[in-house]
Structure formats: C-alpha cells, structure tokens
Symmetry: C2
Subunit: 190 residues, 2 copies
C-alpha cells in the first residue's frame, strides 16, 4: 500500500535490532486519515471471508482494528494485557513473548465477547515473529471460534512471522512488507 510505504520512508526510523519506529503515525501519534485508508484496504482484502468479529491486542492494534471495523461494520474485541476489575473471573488467557518489551505479556479476552462459532478476523499493527498473532489465534480457538484471516499494517518478513502462521492455512495480508533492516536500512520486500 503506497500511502503507508511513503510514510515509512519519510518518517519511519530504523532503531537497530529490527525495531522500526513508526511513532509519528501509528504507535503514539496516530494519523486518522492514513488509518482510515488502511482500514478500507483491509476491508477490501477481507470482504469475502464472512468474518463476524475483529480481534486485536491492546495497545497499538486498537487503531488499525477499529478503522477496519468501521468499514466492515463488525464489533472489535481487543485482548487486554492486564485484567481489569470489570472482567469476570473466568477468562481466556494466554501468554506471548513481546519483542519490544523483552518479556512475556498476557493476552486476556472475556468469554462474553468471543463465542463458539464466531468467524474471527485478526488485525494488528505488526507481523514480526508472529507470536502476538499466534496468541490471539489460541484465544480464539479456546473460545471455539474460527480464525478466518489475519492482517497486519507492517510485516517484517525477516522475523519469520508468515512462516510461523503458515500451518493455519489462512489468508495472511500485510499492507507493507519490509524485507531487510540491516545496517540502518529499510528495504521493502518487493
């Protein structure tokens, strides 16, 4: 997706260690016009899956998932990383390693909002190692729901996430793919 690619070229910063800083339009400051365009693109890509719900993980998945949900007219559920007091005692919980946090994080969804038979579309900001998305897949399966598609704004193909998801045999889409970040560069896959 050219719009997102341009923003990464103009504003993205390669901080080393595979960390891409996109704080000025995705992760701290959010550009609503760009995010709406990304949501529209995901909605187009996943229009024919019969998804009934979108699942993402707080914090930075919320904006792209909500933008997509506005176009597909689907409810969004974001997995919480700490259990709020408003959540029932019995929850779906899994743990996943966080690349940027350097530790395991919990992903928690209330059974109230993820039910058997749902067709779940997973949307997140990054597809890197795939560990967060695999955590969301486990939550959906625990609920008896089917994951029908996976979308990420930015894929870092050199971290192997797409291969880690391949056994699921699902449509996996990224709007921009980065193939190499060595030596301070940002090289796209194409």
């Amino acid at each position: 997706m050219d719009l997102l690619k341009e923003r990464i070229l103009n504003e993205g910063k390669n901080l080393g260690g595979g960390i891409l800083k996109v704080d000025s339009f995705i992760n701290h400051q959010v550009d609503p016009t760009l995010m709406d365009a990304c949501g529209a693109e995901f909605a187009r890509m996943f229009a024919n899956l019969g998804a009934t719900r979108i699942l993402t993980a707080e914090i930075s998945g919320i904006a792209p998932a909500l933008a997509t949900a506005m176009h597909l007219k689907l409810q969004v559920v974001y997995a919480r990383k700490t259990k709020p007091i408003t959540m029932p005692d019995q929850v779906y919980l899994t743990v996943a390693p966080s690349h940027t946090k350097g530790r395991m994080v919990e992903l928690i969804v209330s059974p109230e909002y993820l039910a058997k038979g749902e067709r779940v579309l997973i949307i997140d900001d990054f597809l890197a190692s795939g560990s967060t998305i695999l955590g969301l897949v486990r939550l959906a399966k625990a609920a008896g729901a089917d994951v029908v598609g996976i979308g990420a704004l930015i894929e870092k193909s050199f971290e192997g996430g797409r291969a880690a998801l391949s056994h699921l045999n699902l449509q996996v889409e990224s709007l921009v793919c980065i193939g190499n970040m060595e030596d301070g560069q940002i090289i796209f896959c194409d």
Copy 2:
C-alpha cells in the same frame, strides 16, 4: 446523546463502588458504528475551537479520540503508561491516580508530538474524578501547548471531575452524564 444512553441502559452494568462496566461497547469490545457517531458528535461540539491536535490516554481513550480525529482530520496523540523503547529519553511525564487500577499510573508523551503553540483537544472515555484529564492538561502545559477543550463519552458527575476542571475555564463536554449509581442504579443527570 441518546444512542450512547440507550447502550448504557441496555448493556451497562453497575458493579458498585462507582464502577460502570461498559466492556461490551467501549472498553474491551468496541462498537465501531457507535464510536463513529460519538466521534461525529464531539467533532460537532468542538468544531469552532481551532484545535490542532487531539490528546488522550491509552488504553480506552484511543477509540473515542481516533473516531473524533477522523471527523476533525486532526492527528491524535495517546499518552503512554509505560515508556516504549522507541521513545526518546527526554519525555513529558506526569502521574495520575487510576480509579479502576487503584494505584498511580504514569502518563508519558514524547516532545516530538506535542509542541509549543499547539491547540489541544482532550478526549477520553470517562470523566470521573478528572485526575487522568488533569494529568493530560499538565502534559500539554509542560509542552507549552494550550488545552482548548475537553470531551468525555461518559461523565460520572457524582465523582466531581467537572468541578476539578472548572478552574481551567474551558469547554467541557460529555455525551452522557450519570448522576447517581447508588444501590445498583444507573441514574442519568437530566
């Protein structure tokens, strides 16, 4: 705002201690159509303030702030509660008590995205004691920015937030106001 009021009446749960559970449409599951309507309403209310940026706090402020930003075509910045590795060492940081977490939380904004002279519109999910919003006001002031308006989806007037903000002499708007939650009730202000 009738749409939001109806959802609170139908799905909101008074958990006692002033805690209103709105997990099914705001805080865990998000209804994108409702959120878009709330954003449109905030955009209408604050259309004439000349705001240049929207400021909110992660996590549950992101959805209403983004929906508002889409209508006003303004960048959104969400204050982080933990400093990510992509953020510079020098930041604006304040602490505010969290009602639902029962402890102090940090609110952190990068100087990259909040600058002197900005006209800041603050949007959040709840106006309760006002402590989170006052924290956001302190961050804006630290940056030399002016806060020009404050909007919350749901005000709990019995927690005194509006009074706590009154010295700012700003337009403060809530889409729904709850005046009493004693004895398991949810009584609106009107």
